[in-house]
């Protein structure tokens, strides 16, 4: 399996302020992404996610470090032809229609006319903007802009797709659709690099993640490796039992009419609850083991720093 | 071709810097070359369309004196360029623009008048410029003095010169020379009375010995002129009656045509030639 993206010891500082003070943003970033996987890149605001991404794209020039895309120098034209990029808060030429917009980018890849037309049709279908093809971008809503941005990122059928906070600002339906598209891309053999805050989505679709805090990679690996399987507690929603009967077995969080939400911490306590339910012919509405989530891990790591 | 050129590494900075210097050298060389080609210039002829008038000052948004300077500087270069044949066409117009923008800027009036009179050989324009100068700067005695001077030198129009000198005399700070020029001009226009009075004034008020001497010379001259006229008039009357010139000037007194025989400023008699009827003073004024 080829390495889609390899970053070694990336350093970048900026000089900010009137009397230039050097501020180090990236302090030695190293990680790699395998071909065909969905890679999540997490971190708090200001950690350096977008800066890393811009270094990869050649918008920023790092002081030190090596970046390779499919084993080629990241600034070479061959590398760039394999890459698709969707920036955060996309803003495009608002006087163009969606069709013209995608056509323009198609021209930059030197696509032939027929091929270009087919591609644009396919992409508009994919992102669900077929009916708005001839609408000017200035009239697009945020969600629509996000979609056309994704279409633009895929115009050249790239093998590596870089997405910077693509899920922000989308409604739940939009998020689901985007997740589906990303998974579909993986199915086509593409590699996806996803920068995001929204941890639930990352948990759902990413194979591996890296966590960056203050310009350094704190943790990286598969989700299973990072997040322990340990169960914190189990949440049980029961009806038909009395609160007093459940005393001592766990925490009664809330009572809604008949239903009781119970937090059970020990495993044997859980067994006792279950047998109690069976004996009394009570009803279990839900039983959810609460494991460590990515959010827990994330908050813990960030707090440490 | 372009595709393959750009497919490779992007243009190295070294190449770009080299190209930078190369192009710099080329255009500097081109400029030098262009300069050498003689070109018929009518530079700034569009300045002609700047209309004169009071509004011009306002149109320059408070930078009027700055613009006056610029236009003046330009004008000097323009008029120094002998390759432009008809550059005096709008001389008055240009200098009126300058005066409109900065009426108190003295140099343009002077220089403009000098250009007009020495280069364009146009005394009227020169005088017009100086008149404008005086109009806008009533306390500048230089303008009428200059004007009188030009009128005197170039056309020997002593009447005009006299008027100008009188104007100049009336302005505070005018040099004493002005008075003398006035008196002299008056003399030339045969206005002996004014000339005499002025010279007398100069003679009595001045302290400088040299100028006193000059004044006295002039007084001698004026008196001589006046006296000669009077005597000649008497001779004329004599001749009309007696059909001959008098043999002596004293005869004129006897005949009653002269009240008394005038003597020159030094008290000497005038020379008289009975044959021709010519009357002359004994000495040349400057040789006294």
């Amino acid at each position: 399996m080829a390495t889609a993206l390899r970053i070694e010891d990336l350093h970048k500082s900026f000089k900010i302020g009137f009397i230039p003070k050097k501020k180090e943003i990236l302090k030695g970033i190293s990680f790699s992404i395998q071909e065909g996987e969905i890679f999540g890149y997490l971190g708090p605001n200001g950690a350096g996610k977008t800066t890393t991404l811009k270094c990869v794209l050649g918008l920023i020039f790092p002081e030190r470090g090596k970046i390779e895309i499919f084993d080629q120098p990241h600034l070479s034209l061959q590398a760039k032809e394999q890459v698709g990029f969707l920036p955060e808060n996309p803003y495009f030429y608002d006087y163009l229609t969606a069709w013209e917009f995608l056509g323009f980018y198609g021209q930059l890849f030197l696509l032939k006319k027929k091929e270009k037309e087919e591609k644009i049709n396919y992409l508009l279908e994919l992102v669900g903007l077929k009916k708005d093809a001839n609408l000017q971008l200035r009239k697009f809503s945020r969600g629509m802009l996000q979609r056309v941005g994704l279409a633009q990122a895929l115009i050249n059928d790239p093998q590596l797709v870089l997405l910077d906070e693509p899920l922000g600002g989308l409604d739940p339906l939009g998020r689901k659709e985007l997740r589906d598209v990303i998974v579909r891309l993986k199915g086509e053999g593409k590699t996806v690099f996803l920068c995001s805050h929204i941890l639930q989505d990352i948990e759902m679709i990413c194979d591996r993640v890296a966590i960056i805090v203050n310009g350094q990679i704190i943790n990286q690996g598969t989700l299973q490796d990072l997040v322990q399987e340990k169960i914190f507690f189990t949440e049980v929603i029961i009806s038909g039992l009395d609160e007093k009967e459940l005393e001592g077995l766990g925490e009664c969080s809330s009572v809604h009419g008949e239903r009781i939400l119970l937090k059970v911490f020990e495993e044997e306590a859980l067994e006792r609850v279950l047998s109690l339910v069976q004996a009394q012919k009570a009803k279990i509405h839900s039983l959810i083991p609460r494991t460590e989530t990515l959010e827990d891990l994330f908050v813990e790591i960030v707090k440490e720093k | 071709m372009k595709k393959s050129l750009l497919r490779g590494k992007s243009f190295s900075p070294l190449f770009l810097v080299f190209f930078l210097f190369l192009s710099c050298g080329v255009f500097m060389g081109l400029k030098l070359r262009i300069e050498q080609i003689p070109r018929k210039k009518v530079p700034g002829s569009s300045i002609i369309y700047i209309p004169t008038g009071k509004f011009l000052k306002f149109a320059t948004f408070g930078y009027s004196s700055f613009f006056a300077d610029l236009i003046y500087l330009w004008a000097i270069q323009y008029y120094s360029d002998y390759s432009i044949p008809d550059r005096f066409h709008y001389l008055d117009h240009i200098f009126s623009i300058i005066s409109e923008l900065d009426p108190h800027y003295v140099d343009p009036y002077e220089i403009g008048s000098l250009i007009a009179v020495y280069e364009a050989r146009d005394l009227n324009s020169a005088l017009k410029i100086l008149d404008r100068g005086l109009e806008k700067n009533p306390d500048q005695w230089l303008f009428p003095l200059e004007a009188g001077h030009l009128a005197q030198i170039f056309t020997k129009d002593y009447n005009l010169a006299k008027d100008y000198y009188r104007k100049a005399m009336g302005i505070k700070g005018a040099p004493d020379l002005t008075k003398r020029l006035y008196a002299n001009a008056a003399f030339r226009t045969m206005d002996f009375k004014t000339s005499w009075e002025t010279w007398l004034e100069i003679y009595t008020t001045v302290n400088d010995e040299r100028i006193k001497k000059i004044a006295s010379n002039h007084l001698y001259q004026v008196k001589a002129a006046i006296d000669v006229l009077v005597i000649k008039e008497a001779i004329g009357k004599f001749r009309a009656k007696f059909r001959r010139n008098p043999s002596e000037l004293s005869q004129l007194v006897k005949a009653g045509y002269l009240a008394s025989l005038p003597k020159d400023f030094d008290g000497q008699d005038y020379l008289y030639d009975p044959l021709t009827g010519e009357v002359k003073p004994t000495t040349i004024p400057w040789k006294r």
Partner: protein, 254 residues
């Protein structure tokens, strides 16, 4: 190919800018008003129309070049549309040149429109088409190209307001070159004189493109001057563009 795509895109963007039409309106207005002005003169009326017309073309063209040019690159950086663009396999110089040629083409269209009005008015007066005017207009266009390149250069690293001021200064310096020349004559020989002379050669001489008076007066101009002036314009433009490319190459887009 890519340069052409970007250029066309830039053209589409620039042609929508309302400033252009405002300036076009004023240019047309001043050309037509020159007709009124012409009524005031005695003698050759057409001369005033020609003079004012060419001056308007030059002035408003320069304003267009500066006002649009200075926001050209800056807008892309500010609105971040440049991110998606440069993430594609496009050289930065292709981007820059694309922007430049897009604006040049826009100016060509605008200048043509103004010229049409201008020539039409002259035709209306003299009932013949004055082809000689086109020579002056060609050189006005060349001057505009140079100004555009300067505006593009400044747009790469400066806000539109500052860039406009710099470009305007370039324009003024270019036209006041004769002042420096007269100054040189007055300085005594020495290091200072040599320095000023080099400065004089380096600074742009936009008067090289000024053939308005010659054309209006119908003076003969040696073809060599036309050739060298054109070359001067092209080489100076290349110089400025190279400078812009150098500035733009390693710029970080935060």
């Amino acid at each position: 190919m890519k340069i052409r795509a970007i250029a066309l895109n830039t053209f589409k963007e620039a042609i929508r800018d309302r400033i252009l039409y405002l300036l076009l309106f004023f240019a047309a207005l001043s050309i037509i008003l020159s007709r009124a002005l012409a009524l005031l003169t005695v003698g050759d009326r057409v001369k005033i129309i020609k003079d004012v017309g060419l001056a308007s073309l030059s002035l408003f063209g320069a304003l267009m070049a500066i006002l649009i040019g200075t926001s050209l690159v800056y807008k892309e950086i500010d609105k971040k549309t440049i991110f998606t663009l440069l993430s594609k396999p496009v050289h930065r110089l292709e981007f820059l040149l694309g922007k430049f040629f897009g604006l040049v083409f826009t100016l060509l269209v605008m200048l043509s429109l103004m010229s049409l009005i201008f020539l039409a008015l002259i035709f209306f007066h003299t009932f013949k088409i004055e082809w000689k005017m086109l020579i002056a207009i060609f050189f006005i266009f060349l001057e505009l190209v140079l100004i555009t390149s300067v505006a593009t250069l400044f747009s790469c690293f400066s806000t539109p307001i500052l860039s406009s001021i710099f470009s305007l200064s370039f324009y003024l310096i270019g036209h006041l070159s004769w002042g420096l020349e007269t100054l040189i004559r007055k300085i005594q020989s020495g290091i200072v004189k040599a320095f000023v002379q080099i400065l004089y050669l380096f600074l742009p001489d936009l008067e090289n493109f000024n053939f308005k008076t010659e054309v209006v007066h119908g003076l003969q101009v040696p073809t060599k001057i036309y050739l060298f002036s054109t070359l001067y314009g092209i080489v100076y433009t290349l110089f400025i563009l190279t400078l812009a490319i150098l500035v733009f190459r390693r710029r970080d887009f935060i």
